[in-house]
């Protein structure tokens, strides 16, 4: 049985993943910014969880790094321990929006890279202190190669992927497994209004794959799995082809 803290569990892939955990009896702490949203998600997980599951709500805001440490401590206390930390929270904006609005760009870059790394750092310390565990963060296939529709978002995610890989190399021997999830296009509130490409996934499908990845400690999880092949092909494309295909 796992004791899991999830930053971002109130919606999208985080919500779907949290449900999978409680449906098999794991304990889950819902970390989120809005008190009301956290409360509603806690209620949902309590109703869905198998008897004996414990669910707790903890305030935490990806925009405010000062909340990270207290949040993880509160989660550990409420669940009587903590062995898995997941972060699905993040921000998305189209390249066009980011180019138009530097303050939005600063926000997306900060949340998706710096603050996510800072959150993982707090999680790393906490998990290492108890002798290891699993740290799972949601990066993106957008970080696998510089591409014109996601220049900035992709750069932030590339940085995050590199950080997670480094962390995994450094600490796996000490018992801390790092799982870097790279979702392809998934239909969630974050991608609302964007045209879905082929192979677009649903949060539930992603959650299933990620749950297996967390259980097995898989360093890099593509979800849906087809994206591993898609990204292998895209990474192999020569620059002069990439320049032409426009994605």
């Amino acid at each position: 049985m796992k004791r899991v803290a999830i930053l971002g569990a109130t919606r999208g892939m985080g919500r779907a993943l949290a449900r999978r955990f409680v449906e098999r009896g794991d304990f889950v702490a819902v970390l989120g910014r809005s008190e009301d949203e956290v409360k509603r998600s806690v209620a949902d997980l309590e109703a869905r969880g198998v008897p004996g599951t414990r669910v707790a709500g903890v305030p935490c805001d990806l925009e405010r790094p000062d909340t990270f440490k207290p949040a993880l401590e509160a989660a550990e206390q409420k669940l009587d321990g903590l062995d898995t930390v997941v972060v699905t929270a993040g921000a998305f904006a189209t390249q066009e929006q980011l180019e138009r609005d530097p303050s939005l760009a600063a926000k997306v870059l900060t949340l998706d890279f710096s603050n996510t790394v800072l959150f993982c750092e707090e999680a790393r310390k906490k998990l290492l202190m108890r002798g290891g565990g699993t740290l799972c963060a949601f990066s993106s296939v957008a970080g696998d190669r510089g591409r014109s529709p996601v220049v900035m978002y992709g750069a932030a995610k590339a940085g995050l992927s590199a950080y997670l890989e480094g962390l995994d190399h450094k600490h796996r021997r000490e018992g801390l497994k790092t799982v870097c999830v790279k979702p392809g296009f998934v239909r969630t509130g974050m991608t609302e209004g964007l045209k879905a490409p082929p192979f677009a996934g649903e949060p539930d499908d992603v959650a299933e794959v990620v749950l297996d990845g967390i259980d097995a400690g898989t360093p890099v999880v593509y979800a849906p799995p087809i994206w591993r092949a898609v990204m292998t092909a895209i990474r192999a494309m020569p620059r002069f082809v990439m320049r032409r295909v426009k994605f």
């Binding site: 919606r11 509603r40 209620a43 109703a47 509130g189 609302e192 209004g193």
Partner: protein, 438 residues
């Protein structure tokens, strides 16, 4: 934002924008839509202002009382999701339609009914509270004893009174997750209706499928199904497994459904039930939701799609009403795949709730050039019998026909006038039937 085609289950559609917010309360004041299983245009936005809000991301349970079964949940929660969680624990919805791909909000808005209508009424009869956002932006609670008018207009109100955000109702305890079913082959429509009525006394769930192509002596022969939850000594101890997930793989060409293929299907369905009577334990998935096995089965009807014609023929129409209906249908050559017949119990106090005491008939009709004329003729007949049609299925009914069928309409429209005088919440259907601005 990208425009795309928004379709009803019968594949009638409009090009527009379907918003899918995480938070329903932040959505614009337009029509809500759930899983889009209403057949006609009731979940479609008006064509001149084609924006609709899809509620399915609002799918959280907000409280479940394991002692009483009372559940409160966000309106976008589907019966499928709900049953996956609660059926293994011995809970079932008080009323289910023929598909699990329906949201709680949709079940309320269409006031859906099921095989137990003659005993338990419609879904709305079990609802204790609705949380709604109305046209002036206020979020309010209503129920049978709170803002009763708004509640009665919203149950069966097709989403036209406001946005349903949350629904509260009690789930029902079941002895096992299995169904004890008896089915029998019945030779013609009169015998069928008689047996249906007779079974209503002894069985909490009844329904049947009839062949509506064969004229004459065997008109309306079919299979009558009766069921109840199985007791633990009858049922397997394991949990019934969900059926395999198939998908209708392509949009079928129009010639696939022709009088010959439909006749062959009807014949096969009738004679597949070789023994006169059958009984035994069956799994709830095939009993309640037989068509959910095949995703996208509406593609079978090709590009033009289909319409479902569902009407209720009231008890006052007397015996033979079902036969008279089938006579009109067969004379008109209205070829339908199976036709579903079910008896209805008392009428709900909700203003536009469809069922009333009598016989409900539902048939799927592939859309062809003469479909409007066929629906007109059926409507004129149903009017003569004092019956009415079901809005959740309708695409073709004319406003004058609907008004004539529905004496309660003025009451509904008066409540709507009070809560939404500007008609912010309107659908392609309300434009067609109630004269809303497009």
């Amino acid at each position: 934002m990208t425009d795309s085609r928004i379709e009803g289950w019968g594949r009638t559609g409009v090009v527009g924008e379907e918003l899918m917010p995480d938070h329903l309360e932040q959505s614009p004041p337009v029509l809500f839509r759930g899983l889009g299983r209403s057949y006609g245009d009731s979940s479609l936005p008006p064509s001149a202002h084609p924006v609709v809000v899809n509620t399915t991301r609002a799918n959280r349970m907000l409280s479940f009382d394991g002692a009483t079964g009372v559940l409160r949940a966000e309106a976008g929660l589907s019966l499928l999701d709900l049953h996956r969680t609660l059926l293994p624990r011995g809970w079932f919805v008080p009323v289910t339609p023929g598909t699990q791909f329906v949201t709680l909000g949709g079940a309320v808005a269409a006031d859906v009914h099921g095989k137990n209508h003659h005993v338990d009424g419609c879904f709305g009869a079990h609802v204790r509270r609705l949380k709604m956002r109305v046209a002036d932006g206020r979020v309010i609670e209503c129920g049978p004893d709170l803002e009763r008018e708004l509640f009665l207009a919203s149950v069966g109100g097709m989403g036209l009174t406001g946005q349903i955000l949350e629904v509260e109702f009690p789930m029902v305890r079941i002895p096992t997750p299995w169904i004890w079913q008896e089915s029998e082959r019945v030779g013609d429509i009169d015998e069928y209706v008689e047996k249906l009525k007779e079974s209503a006394h002894a069985w909490p769930m009844t329904v049947g499928w009839i062949d509506c192509l064969t004229p004459g002596k065997h008109m309306g022969r079919g299979i009558l199904m009766k069921g109840r939850w199985a007791h633990s000594h009858e049922a397997p101890s394991r949990f019934p497994s969900e059926p395999p997930n198939l998908r209708f793989p392509f949009e079928a060409p129009e010639w696939l459904l022709n009088p010959l293929s439909i006749r062959a299907f009807n014949l096969g369905f009738y004679w597949k039930h070789l023994p006169k009577k059958r009984e035994g334990v069956t799994n709830p998935f095939s009993f309640f939701w037989p068509l959910d096995f095949v995703k996208d089965w509406n593609r079978m009807y090709g590009r033009r799609g289909f319409t479902q014609y569902q009407c209720v023929l009231p008890s006052e129409a007397g015996t033979g009403a079902a036969r008279r209906f089938l006579e009109v249908l067969t004379r008109r050559g209205g070829a339908s795949f199976l036709c579903v017949i079910k008896d209805c119990g008392p009428e709900s106090p909700a203003f536009l709730s469809f069922p009333r005491p009598g016989i409900s008939v539902a048939l799927d009709i592939a859309i062809r050039d003469d479909t409007q004329a066929l629906v007109d003729e059926l409507n004129e007949h149903v009017l003569k019998e004092g019956g009415r049609i079901y809005l959740a299925k309708d695409t073709f009914t004319r406003p004058e026909h609907f008004r004539a069928m529905e004496p309660r309409l003025s009451k509904f429209l008066a409540v709507r006038e009070k809560w939404d005088p500007e008609r912010k919440f309107r659908s392609a259907q309300s434009v067609r039937l109630f004269g809303d601005p497009s």
